[in-house]
């Protein structure tokens, strides 16, 4: 089974996910939060605590298909 990682869409930049991420997979830039799929362990703590419901867990193969990688 493909592993699931967090993906972000609609971030408001509040920082909550960065505080909570145990593996420091989340960084920020001018577009908001980004999750490093290599570091993400798919625990979902970011998605469960995102104030703006901007984070979802997605299967890695689906992300690869969508991004063409």
């Amino acid at each position: 089974m493909t592993r699931r990682v967090a993906v972000v869409r609609g971030c408001t930049g509040c920082d909550t996910c960065r505080w909570l991420c145990k593996v420091q997979a989340i960084s920020f830039d001018h577009e908001g939060a980004h999750v490093d799929p290599e570091k993400c362990v798919g625990c979902g703590v970011c998605a469960d605590n995102c104030q703006s419901f901007a984070i979802r867990l997605k299967p890695m193969d689906q992300i690869e298909k969508e991004t063409g990688k």
Partner: protein, 474 residues
Amino acid sequence: MSFRILNNGDVIEEARELKSLGEYDVVVCGGGMAGFGAAVAASRKGARVLLIERETSLGGLATVGLVPIPKDTPAGISKEMISRLEEVDAHTRRNSDPEKHKLILDRMVREAKIDLLLDTAIVDAVVENGKVRGAVLESKSGRQVVMGKRFVDCTGDADLAYFAGCECMSGRPEDGKHQACSIDFRLGGVDYDKYLDSDLKADDPQWIKLIEAAHRDGRMPVMYENHLNWSVFVPGRPKHCGKDEICICIAHSRNCDPLSNRDLTRMYLEGREQADFWARFIRENVPGYENSYLIDTSALLGVRESRRVVGEYILKTLDFARGTKFDDAITATFHHFDLHNPDGVGNIKWAKEVIDGKVCYVSSTGNPGSLEPPCGYAGMTDGWGRCGADRVFKTGGSDIPYRSLVPVKFDNLLVAGRCLSSEFMAQAASRLILCCVNMGQAAGTAAVQSLKDNVAPRKIDVKKLQAQLAADRT
């Protein structure tokens, strides 16, 4: 009472005897989040504690100000408070229910056997031989005094410290301007699921493009703000029925002095007008809000920064950006630079600093906020002045040293909360709710330790304080 009217119209108030409420071990001035933490900590350590609050409930901006609670650093009393909120469905994600929060604070203060005075303002300090001996109070009972062995100033504005003659800083160093102040408000009748599924939520979550377009085509005559600061649903309400309740921060008043009753009055009036405007604008422009209505506006203005005391250490902007470790750390802040622009619209998440002789626009996370720095996004640096691809941002929290809670000169005074001894931008990163509770817990614990060991707060054994806090925070 006798008064003498001067020729210039001012009035001399003659000296008079003030009724004393007695002497307490620890007097905590201000029952916001820092004062709550300080009073509970001190009382649990066996001190006789009086907590004084000018509003009619505890919690300050977290309750009366309608500010939901970010869960940045839950530890000890702040963690306990969050658990108590969760038990009654009053906290989830970054959202809280201010009404249930008030009641939980009432109960926790009562359980800790703290003596409490609500609806009571601190108006002066009695100082003798480098010590604050008493706080002068005003309330329905008139003017009174309360004496204390140790005082913890959690007024947010450092009122007690200021009245005692403590040196204070206020506003931005170059021009004294303060962060914009906010009136937050709640909207009812929202279909939040519809909003969450909308393209606006996915593609323009801070409504920046929506607001710019509305300003261009005249739907928004005045550019009050260029972004949605935050919006969260209030927990514990019926869900998925099109009747969600949403708390919003978007109204801002600028060019304000939060220490002037004139300016405060202006900001309350302006804030309520803005809330009325935004409620209409949101109803007409944001999906899911078509049937929404304004429930209430906050009864306490969201002042983000006013006076900061000059303490044994002034927390530096770069200390925060670099995550400098301190031997006397008593808590940490995990937040970012969070400046609500004093000059105009926008949220600024960077600080202008000189590093190695070069002007840098410093970020602690890489996110510039809704206003990019003059150097642009790529030119923004990390805490060490590196830009572009060379930036490496700190990970984890930034320490708050005990010395930032100890004002210089005074031998029995501590502070906690947003009036901590800090530079303007370091304060903008250290003012979140749980960080204030944690500072309060440290100050309350330190006050009792200094009393038991019979030394001034600045001379306490900090290792012992840290060990106590660690034990109490497990």
